[in-house]
Assembly symmetry: C2
Homo-oligomer: 203 residues x 2
C-alpha cells in the first residue's frame, strides 16, 4: 500500500501517527505540496474526487480517503494495538469523540485558517467574517475537552485511542490561528505532556 | 436503551432509518423541540456536552451521541443486516463515503441553512455570506455523487449501506436551502427513487 501525504496538513498527520502506533513504519509515501496544488490534478481526482490528502492506495488500486476511513482500514487489517476499541461501547465512545473533535474542533480550526489567511483563495472563496466565528466555535471546544480530561486519562477513556490522535493533531494545528490551551486548562496541559512523550508524536 | 430525538433535524433521522433497517422498531424515544431549546438544558448537557441530538442512552446510563457513533454501537450490538460493511475494505469504503457526505454535503447544507435563515440566532452568530458559500460547496457535491452513482448501484458499492442513509437524509434536508437534484443528475434521481421505496424511508 501507498500513502498520499502532505506536510503541515492535519489529516495526513493523523494517519501517520496512527500508522506509527500500529508499528507500520515502512509504508511507501508520496508527499504532495498542497499550496503548489499537487492535489488538484485530474489524475489524483480519480483517486479522490474531493482532491484531498490523505489517500491510502491499496495494492489492487482501491483508494481509501478520509483519515477516519483509513483508520478503519488499518485497524481491521492490523488489529494488534487496537486504537478504535474492542467492545461495542468502546468502539462507539471512541467514534463519538473522534467525530466531536472533527466537527467541533478540527473543522472550525481549519475553516478559520483557510478563510482568515486566504491561503487557498485560488481554489475557494474566503469569508473573513466566518473565519472569526469559526475560531470562536473552536475556542469553545477547549472547555469541553478540559471537562472531559478532568474525568478521564485519555480523550475516549482510560486507554489511548484514535481520538487522542485527532485531538493532539488539532491542538498542534490550532497554532495557525493562535489558539492555545492556557492555565485555565490544566487537564488538557497534563494530557498534552503525556501524548507528546509517545514516539508516534513526531510522525 | 432510549433515543433522544427531534423532528425535521437530519442527524436524528439518520439514526431512525438505521434502526428501521435493523428492525429495531420499539426503542423508547424522547422527542425534543429544538427551536424551543429543549436540548439546551444543563441536564441534557450531562448527556452530551455539545447539547445536540441524537443521543442514545444505554440502560447503564452510558450516552452515545453523534449519528455515526450510534450507527457503530447498533451495528456491533445487532450485527444482522450489516450496514457498515463486513470486510476491511468494505468497512473503510462505507466510512469514507459517510464522511465525505457529512463534510462535503450535510455539514455545508446545515451551515447554509443556519447562517442563512438565522433560525438559531439565539445561540449562534449567523454569517449570511458564509451561508451562500456553504451552499455552493454543497451544490458541488451533487456532481461527485452523480459521478459515483453512475458507477455503482448504491453510494458505497453494490450493497445498501449507512452511506445511503446519510445521503438520502441530506438530500431531503437540502430542500430547506432549495437545493435539488435535476435532469443533469439522472443517476442520483434513479437511486433516489430506489431508496424512497424502502420501508425505512418513512422513519
Amino acid at each position: 500500500m501507498k500513502l498520499y501525504d502532505a506536510d503541515y496538513a492535519p489529516s495526513p498527520r493523523r494517519v501517520r501517527i496512527f500508522m506509527a502506533e500500529k508499528g507500520l513504519t515502512d509504508v511507501e509515501t508520496i508527499k504532495f505540496d498542497l499550496p503548489k496544488g499537487d492535489n488538484l490534478s485530474d489524475e489524483f481526482a480519480a483517486k479522490n474526487p474531493l482532491r484531498k490528502v490523505p489517500v491510502l492506495e491499496l495494492d489492487d488500486g482501491t483508494c481509501i480517503s478520509e483519515a477516519a476511513a483509513i483508520y478503519r482500514y488499518l485497524e481491521e487489517s492490523f488489529p494488534e494495538n487496537p486504537l478504535l476499541g474492542t467492545s461495542a461501547v468502546d468502539k462507539a465512545v471512541i467514534e463519538m469523540w473522534d467525530r466531536r473533535l472533527e466537527f467541533a474542533f478540527l473543522y472550525p480550526v481549519f475553516q478559520s485558517f483557510q478563510h482568515g489567511s486566504g491561503i487557498f483563495k485560488d481554489r475557494m472563496t474566503p469569508v473573513p467574517e466566518w473565519a472569526g466565528e469559526a475560531r470562536n466555535i473552536a475556542a469553545e471546544f477547549f472547555d469541553i475537552l478540559e471537562q472531559r480530561l478532568a474525568e478521564s486519562t485519555y480523550v475516549a477513556g482510560e486507554q489511548f485511542s484514535a481520538a487522542d490522535i485527532t485531538a493532539v493533531v488539532t491542538l498542534d494545528f490550532a497554532k495557525v490561528i493562535k489558539l492555545r490551551p492556557g492555565e485555565q486548562h490544566p487537564n488538557i496541559l497534563r494530557w498534552y505532556e503525556q501524548i507528546k512523550q509517545r514516539p508516534s508524536y513526531s510522525a
